[in-house]
């Protein structure tokens, strides 16, 4: 990164008739490894580096980026962004919620620095996963393993005096397996993510987890029975709790969606002004509190300042079953008369920062997992999921169990093959009557934006118990 060019671009932007300008530069050292059936397909190692300018003029916004580090290019993109902002010709002029300029630096520590880990070690770590799977006694038809390492340096300056430098190392892994038994197949994937160093790879226990998944899939094929469709209780493991929190709380609480800015692609929200659901409306039972918190140390969605230079903090989205606080950037905050809560994120210098989640989870209660199960006469324990989706107003959702068990009279019985809950956001969260005390997180890549911007997040929570929901 050439900070002098960034500073030059800001000064050049300031020389124009603008309401606001920012330059965001990013340099990312990337490693990508992909194995197919234990064989390294390719090792990609690259550095991506560039900068963007965002300008507000005449109540419109223009954005331009480049990866050519010259002053001429900087001038060109500032000129373009300025021209685009003016050409927007908006009836409703945009403004940003107020923020004071910040000068700071932040970084995330690595116990085992990525730079000290050789390519051989990284390859070997992935190969070991395949070896563990190959010797676990389950017939594995295919595997795909990926590892990504990103060492991201950013330099952010704006016309309000902010100057923020940061360094954020991240590591991610994705494993996909297919198990074949008795001529039938089942599949599972797991994603892992961490902000920090290589120490994460050992802490994840991927080999153990994937072998567990392989055995679960085998048991689903050989011992799994379909559930008799009907109304029953459901216990969601942390994976299912987390995806539900992400999909049916985090996404509908994004203020840009609520205001219609994502209306064409990611859609709108069941929450809208004048509708039945707004701040203060009930959306779940009193034991449901869902938080989105970018400040969880070493989390996959961690950041100290967002991509508009606003200090990160926890956001209480649903609080005691009530709609409480939307996710905002400075644009949406201004439109709804509040302050930004630092939800503006971008995956790279060539993408506009938009409203995003970070780490979304259900706040724990005071029960043990066993206590949740003990009080169920007839139900299903859905520990993990395969297929899932939700409509674009974030109200009608579906989760299909991967590892799931029948519960009869407070005891776990045989595996249940692909049980399905297909219900509404209101019914799902209203049915929750108990929450366990242990929170666990899962890494995920949240999709939004056009072009798509997959941002790293955690989803998570404790086990939750839903009473009287329809399972098929």
């Amino acid at each position: 990164m050439e900070e002098d060019i960034v500073d030059f671009a800001l000064e050049y932007a300031r020389s124009k008739k603008i309401e606001y300008a920012e330059i965001r530069a990013q340099s990312q050292v990337q490693d990508r490894l992909m194995l197919r059936n234990g064989i390294l397909e390719a090792y990609v190692s690259a550095v991506d580096s560039g900068f963007c300018v965002r300008v507000m003029a005449d109540g419109g916004i223009g954005f331009a980026s480049t990866n050519k580090w010259t002053r001429e290019e900087a001038k060109e993109i500032v000129d373009l962004a300025f021209k685009y902002a003016k050409a927007a010709n908006r009836k409703e002029k945009l403004v940003f919620a107020e923020e004071k300029g910040v000068e700071t630096k932040w970084t995330v520590d690595q116990k085992e620095k990525m730079d000290n880990i050789s390519p051989e070690e990284k390859i070997s770590a992935l190969v070991e996963i395949d070896k563990a799977l190959a010797s676990c006694g389950v017939n594995i038809a295919a595997t795909m393993s990926q590892c990504s390492i990103d060492l991201t340096s950013k330099y952010f300056v704006n016309s309000e005096g902010s100057r923020i430098s940061s360094f954020l190392p991240k590591i991610g892994a994705y494993i996909f397996i297919t198990v074949t038994e008795q001529g039938k197949t089942e599949q599972a994937s797991e994603q892992f993510g961490y902000s920090g160093g290589w120490e994460a790879f050992d802490e994840w226990n991927i080999n153990e987890k994937m072998v567990h998944d392989a055995k679960v899939l085998r048991d689903v094929i050989t011992k799994g029975k379909a559930v008799k469709p009907g109304v029953m209780d459901l216990i969601c493991g942390h994976e299912v709790t987390g995806i539900a929190a992400h999909e049916s709380c985090g996404h509908p609480m994004e203020a840009d969606r609520i205001l219609g800015r994502e209306m064409s692609q990611a859609g709108r929200s069941f929450i809208f002004k004048g509708g039945p659901f707004w701040i203060g409306a009930r959306i779940g039972s009193g034991v449901v509190t869902i938080v989105d918190d970018p400040t969880i140390e070493h989390s996959y969605g961690y950041y100290a300042y967002d991509d508009e230079g606003v200090k990160a903090k926890p956001r209480y989205l649903y609080k005691n079953g009530m709609i409480n606080e939307f996710l905002h950037n400075r644009e949406t905050a201004a439109r709804l008369g509040v302050r930004s809560n630092a939800s503006s994120r971008s995956i790279n210098y060539d993408r506009e920062a938009i409203v995003r989640m970070a780490n979304t989870f259900v706040v724990p209660g005071d029960m043990t997992e066993d206590e949740l199960v003990e009080d169920v006469k007839n139900g299903v324990y859905m520990k993990s999921f395969t297929e899932w989706n939700i409509d674009d107003k974030r109200f009608n959702q579906r989760y299909v169990g991967r590892e799931a068990y029948l519960i009869e009279n407070g005891e776990l019985k045989h595996p249940v093959a692909r049980p399905v809950i297909e219900t509404t956001t209101l019914k799902f969260w209203t049915a929750v009557d108990a929450v366990s005390k242990k929170v666990e997180f899962d890494a995920a890549t949240c999709g939004k934006g056009d072009p798509a911007q997959g941002v790293p997040v955690y989803t998570g929570g404790p086990c939750i118990r839903l009473r009287g929901v329809y399972i098929k």
Partner: protein
Amino acid sequence: MKDVLNKTEDIVKKAKALGADEVIARTTFGRYRQARFSNNQVDITVAWNDYVTDVTLAWKKRVVATQMRNFREVDANIKKLLELAKVSKENPMFGGFAKGNFRYPRSRADEKLRDLENPTDYVFEAIGAAEKEAGSKIESGGILLTKFEDVYVVSSEGPVGVDSRSAIELSIRAFSQREASGHGVECSSTLRDFKPARAGMKAGEIAKLAKNPEAGDEGVYDVVFDPLIFGSLLSVWGSMVSAFNVMVQLSVFVDKLGQKVAPEIVTLKDNPAAYSMANRVFDDEGVPTRENVFIDRGVLKTYLHNASTAKMFKTETTGNAGLVVPNPWSVEMNLGDMDKEELFQELKRGLYLTNTWYTRFQNYAKGDFSTIPRDGIFLVEKGETKQSLKDIRISDNALSLLGNIAGASKERQHVHWWGEVDPPCLSPYVLVRNVHITKSK
């Protein structure tokens, strides 16, 4: 142009001189312009200038790759990449990069799209068309994207080529009521064939019809799929014939070569032709692209290959090499022999679906999946639209849907939007029997 090609060639020569067995360098100068709009106003207009050289090399069957953003530090980058190759792990299945000296057709990219700096006028044209159809109270949002890429590929194995690739697309979603919307897209490789009003009209027309929707019912329905939603399915099937996806079981087509997977009326091909948004004259190994019929009158004929996967499958590359794995470029379904109206007449009590999103699989090898229709869901009885519906889900199987295709229209549309129809597709209206619909309880 010659200068960039020479610099790209130099990278290959340097890598060879340093000991690489095989090298491909591809330099892309991309100019992308996008306007994003919502509530009938432009929210942001975006420009990206991207300069990148992708270098992939093999040393003793170890495949490594990097990206360079300038031509200044080539030597150091190549040395580093070779060092990486030397500590990397052998891929015994690596069959080498494509070999040969090829001639390519001249690119027919539209230079007007290279020069188009501010595309916002097209946005207002589309919004205006939607308003004309459904009234001035309609709220529209979407994107307009233009792309112009100059691509230079040089391979140590022979291929050397220069291509220009142009595309323009508009995606507009119009709301006539809170839960009544229509979606239209307009996709082209040239400005001449790009008609933004067409997308706006379609979005407005569907949005108007979609007013006052009622919750749909579960059941098994015959369905007429609009080209936009059918494009989502075509892009799924297209991805599933990538040989890589077959090898990792992300496909319903494993071990099905030569088998009947669809009725005789179904022919599907991959075709990055000049008119496609994904137009290209060579793939990432420099192999000339071509039309590849992968389902011919219902029979699965081929997977899509790069040189290496082709060797594994004892066949030839199909010109679908991506940097690491083969990909479909642009999926087409052949024209049918029915008028659009005739397709609707086939629905005694069925559905007309116009768009979908969030397609997710339980099991790619088996094909079980669900997807959520949006933007105009209609109950059709005896060919007549009876009621606008909402809140339903297709919960079915990718092979069953393919097998239950019962008719296709004589007209087709070029469709692409977001990640839902990607790669771009050329799709007719399609009638599918016995589609399983579920809903929330």
